[in-house]
């Protein structure tokens, strides 16, 4: 129901294209999907998951299933964490966990894969607490499956939660060992391809300032992070969020929930995770030189650039505390139930900007017909070669998408290796490209000379122009000799004869395939009833609440 309320008209047929969220009618399983090209495997394995679902469902239905699934999992998992047998407190916890500024901002930013991991965090809390028990490792694997689908960022916040809790759990050594093993095995698809990427892991410090948390309430950056908001992108703040009256009320809810969690439902490991997460979230904003230094020391610290995502464990604490507070305060008589219903509605009332397609920011659209024509032409072409996508930028504000910003969808739409400029621009500042193919073609594209010959020599078969397609665009003149096979205001597609054959360096196939095999077998084994008895998805801690 919460998912339906949030998406609203977004549930109509069509695709919701918002910042990093790109779904296409039919996502193909390709080398790109599995991270076997030179790109950073941020989309592994979430793209593979979407592609497999696309085999049986239309792409837009897949998107709606995934997005609704996030709300369902978040509500159920959030409800499962409250140590009470009463329905109302658990429901309240589920609602506040699924409906808060963190979910709204990450949803608008299009981080659906990350949100899968976020949604299941309360399950991870429960499973990590019991990881040291017999079968505890498999229980943790089951709880981590949504994060495993989400990939790198989802696993990162899950590790942030699971490891401190395992450290504080009974049978600490076994619990930590199993937690590390579970997290590692489920990370293998992106870990192996990322590690074996020929050009290494990028660690640009330019993104520290661009992706640092920012204030979206009157309480400054730290107060905004405490309110579970503070995402770097001003364009993803829900309508009406940050208005002083509502911001104050929401902050009161958060603070009261944290106090209630400490008082009524102590979970030392979870509190440590939330505290560490808060520090990490604030790092880029309050100690940018330190973060830059860390990234220069080891590129892996670049995962801390978009710090706001690490307040996710705090959202679990808020859900736990809000549920526990309602459990303690609200009586079981009629007035108590009414009060409880109010508590249930409170998150929605204080954050109405998430409702009804995030107040208009999520609207379904259909891809232009010219895109489908281009897809058919490219798919039917037996000649190998890549597709260069112009204009030379990563993000678009397509007129057919209402001018909303979204990642260029064409590389996923076409059944070929697409090359886009993956340097991203934030407030006019550019964060360098990561894809070696993109970096290699950058001087050619940015120069003023003819494109046809150099691109042919670089193994490019098609040039697709999906914005500024009019004749005034000088790129048309630079493609003399190329055949124009699609010409429409939404897309112009050029075909280049005899592109040079080239093999793109990427991670070796065998270790990547082995990584996938181990992960898939581990997940199947975790759900196998004979091998891993006692399958439950809800891993609520011991109940000590009031009678119903």
């Amino acid at each position: 129901m919460l998912g339906g309320l949030a998406l609203g008209p977004g549930l109509a047929p069509g695709f919701l294209l918002s910042f990093d969220m790109v779904f296409v009618p039919s996502l193909d399983l390709s080398r790109m999907t599995f991270g076997l090209t030179g790109t950073v495997p941020r989309h592994v394995p979430s793209d593979a998951f979407a592609a497999v679902l696309s085999l049986v469902l239309p792409g837009d239905v897949v998107q709606k299933v995934v997005l609704l699934g996030i709300f369902v999992i978040a509500t159920v998992a959030g409800a499962s964490i409250v140590p009470s047998e009463r329905l109302l407190p658990r429901l309240v916890a589920g609602v506040v966990y699924a409906w808060n500024p963190f979910v709204a901002e990450r949803l608008l930013l299009g981080h659906w894969a990350f949100l899968l991991g976020y949604a299941a965090l309360p399950w991870v809390v429960g499973a990590a607490l019991r990881a040291g028990e017999p079968g505890g490792g498999w229980r943790l694997v089951r709880a981590l499956v949504p994060a495993a689908i989400g990939g790198f960022a989802a696993i990162a916040i899950s590790a942030l939660v699971a490891l401190p809790i395992a450290l504080c759990a009974a049978r600490r050594r076994q619990a930590v060992g199993k937690a590390v093993a579970a997290l590692t095995v489920l990370s293998l698809p992106w870990l192996v391809t990322g590690w074996l990427r020929p050009s290494g892991m990028p660690g640009h410090t330019e993104g520290v300032a661009a992706f640092a948390a920012r204030a979206d309430t009157p309480f400054g950056t730290l107060g905004s992070l405490l309110s579970l908001g503070g995402v770097w992108n001003a364009g993803t703040v829900p309508a009406g969020y940050g208005v002083p009256l509502f911001a104050v009320l929401w902050l009161l809810v958060v603070v009261a929930s944290i106090v209630a969690a400490v008082r009524f439902a102590p979970n030392r490991g979870l509190f440590v995770a939330a505290g560490v997460g808060f520090v990490l979230a604030a790092l880029g904003a309050v100690a940018a030189p330190l973060l830059r230094g860390l990234i220069e020391l080891w590129a892996g610290f670049a995962v801390l650039r978009d710090g706001q995502q690490y307040v996710a464990p705090l959202a679990v604490v808020v859900a736990l505390g809000f549920g526990a507070l309602v459990d303690r305060v609200v009586r079981t008589d009629r007035a108590g139930v009414a009060l409880g219903v109010c508590a249930l509605a409170l998150p929605v009332v204080l954050l109405p900007g998430l409702a009804w397609g995030a107040a208009g920011k999520l609207r379904p659209v259909q891809y232009p017909d010219a895109w489908e024509r281009a897809r058919a032409i490219v798919a039917a072409d037996p000649v190998p070669g890549d597709v260069l996508v112009l204009p030379w930028a990563t993000y678009r504000s397509y007129p057919w998408n209402g001018g909303r910003t979204s990642l260029d969808a064409l590389p996923r739409y076409l059944d070929r290796r697409g090359i886009v400029a993956d340097a991203v621009i934030v407030d006019g500042a550019s964060i360098p490209a990561e894809d070696p193919r993109s970096r290699g073609l950058d001087p050619i594209v940015r120069a003023d000379g003819p494109l046809t010959g150099p691109l042919r020599a670089a193994g490019v078969r098609y040039v697709a122009i999906d914005a500024e397609t009019g004749p005034e665009n000088p790129v048309h003149a630079r493609l003399a000799g190329a055949e124009r096979v699609v010409a429409s205001p939404d897309l112009v597609l050029y075909r280049l004869d005899d592109p040079a054959e080239r093999t793109e360096p990427g991670p070796p196939l065998l270790p990547a395939a082995l990584a996938w095999f181990v992960t898939v077998v581990a997940v199947i084994w975790a759900f196998w009833p004979f091998a891993a008895p006692g399958i439950t998805l809800t891993t609520r801690p011991s109940r000590r609440g009031k009678a119903p």
């Binding site: 992108n233 993803t236 509502f246 009629r334 109010c342 109405p352 990563t394 910003t405």
Partner: protein, 43 residues
């Protein structure tokens, strides 16, 4: 009973107020396009 009525009334009023806020916020957004056209976003 009075508490229940007061609570429900409070929620209804708050819901109306929040809807009003959204309407106001939407009315302010004449042009949702982030300029220039190829930016990831602005802070």
């Amino acid at each position: 009973m009075r508490i229940a009525i007061a609570a429900v009334s409070g929620v209804l009023l708050a819901a109306l107020a929040s809807l009003g806020v959204v309407q106001l916020a939407n009315a302010d957004q004449d042009d949702p396009v982030i300029k220039p056209l190829y930016e990831y976003g602005g802070r």
